[in-house]
Amino acid sequence: MYEAQRALATPSRNPRMAVVIGRLLGVAFIVCFGTGVYSHFLQEPLPWMRFPTRPALLYQFSQGTHIVAGIACFPLLLAKLYIVFPELFASPPVKSFLHLLERASIALFVGASLVQITIGLLNTYQWYPWPFPFREVHYALGWVLVGLLVLHIGIKLPIITRFWSARHEAEREATDAAGATEAPGAADAEAARLEAVRLWGSRRPSGVTGRLLAWIDATPAAPTSVSRRGFLTAVGIAGAAVVGLTAGQTFAPLDALNVFGPRKKGVGQQGVPVNRTAQRAGVTASATAAGWALTLAAGGVERSFSRAELEAMPQTEVELPIACVEGWSQLAVWRGVRLRDLADLVDADPDASFRLTSLEQRGSFRRTQMGPEYVRDPLTLVALELNGETLDLQHGYPARMIAPGRPGVLQTKWLSRIEAITA
């Protein structure tokens, strides 16, 4: 085990680097967790929860950030695992019951982190090759991971505080430089190895050095300071590349660089990407039926409006994004009737939440709820037009919801019924 650790030692595998990358990864995890929990409660609010409706781009920003931070986790997590990999071969493997728990928590941390970012990424590709439900598991693992992150910080706190600042690093560079005057390469490598062994905790050599290890030992070592800088630079460039070449699917200024994002701005009917199609939702017949009407209900009052009747009402034009949980978003111009005007026509209580029902036959978002903060917002529309044209069937014809700061799945398409919920 010791030999394995020694063979794996390289200049970039040191505690300082673990702290440097670990900090960034920790921040990315916290950002993902915070934005993820926000998105979760928007979709499944507790009864007392109210949400800000401004800025109208809030959800676009929070969920776009969720995905960007999640993608940035790929280079960061792989870098972190690369740095600490020799720890896998710690000897003795288990020192005490507490040590066993620590190692078990790290194993779960590593496994759950890899699964979390992988299923998150594949969800943005709408590819689900796993035998469990995505939404529930992704949310639960979010809590598991944030718990494990805090636990991990608690366990490693002495190392983290010791290597938090670069001071120690500078001292070591000085020692390396002093030892490097005679034969730079070899001395550097040996110093790095000894340093790594010393810092990770020194272990006595045990077992025989096999031919493999001899071969490994005969391989020229990487130059110390260059390889540390190179490691950080590579991680930085990889991070910038994976983020920069995908984030354009939500952050418009990066649109031209969006060559790997799963969505592209402007691609889709009427220039807006589509998630659930009319065919999949099973609404092609019901949404185009001549007898379609939108029913509004509150208390005992119930009224139905045909599309022509809705068109005859005062129309409002708003510019709002469709922002998907998958991280893409598209700003668009919507035209239709203010929901609060419709609510007033059936004398709905101003503090009432509403239930929105789609023509969809099934699906978890067939029926959704909307709190009074959105119902009463002047930007919330029953939209009839998109970007100057009659709403496309794929975008929810004959009528759909559009409200500020809400996830796309809650912008109910193919509306059928809107009713006030009496508390």
Partner: protein, 156 residues
């Protein structure tokens, strides 16, 4: 010093307790919202992720690093590290884009999902990476040659 040790102990205890609470809550949510028959699948994926990383990915990276250092033993350290870095950047990008290509092959349920030519873009990305690396390595090589032509101040 002893107050410092004490403070460290308190901080660690608090963090470990909060962390454990988060972990337990997460597991509760998992058991509460996911059908029990689906849970072995979650465990399987987590276990497989550990095995895939520790037994496949990490050793492959390790031996690739060795091979590269052997193959490039005559190159200067800086150029070697540069090439290593480029391979790392390209590999991570590939890791993220290849699933998109696979998912695209499974015919997504509407044309606005995965609308780009990801295979071509990935090839272009590698080409650009190779170009930048070559130019950068060339500059480093020229600089080290110039430096070598001057009398060395370091070695006698």
């Amino acid at each position: 010093m002893s107050t410092e040790i004490k403070r460290m102990r308190v901080a660690r205890t608090v963090l470990i307790l909060i962390g454990t609470a988060g972990l337990v809550f997460g597991l509760y949510v998992l058991f509460d919202t996911v059908r029990i028959t689906r849970l072995p699948g979650v465990a399987l994926w987590i276990g497989a992720a550990i095995v895939l990383h520790d037994a496949v990915l990490a050793p492959v990276v390790f031996f690739l690093g060795l091979l590269l250092r052997r193959a490039g033993h005559r190159a200067t350290g800086t150029i070697l590290v540069l090439v290593q870095g480029a391979i790392v950047v390209g590999s991570i990008m590939t890791l993220i884009v290849v699933p998109a290509i696979v998912a695209q092959g499974l015919s997504p349920n509407n044309p606005s999902i995965l609308p780009l030519d990801y295979g071509r873009n990935l090839a272009l990305f590698w080409a650009a990476l190779a170009l930048v690396t070559t130019v950068w390595a060339g500059l480093l090589y020229a600089r080290s040659r110039r430096a070598n032509q001057r009398p060395s101040s370091r070695q006698s």
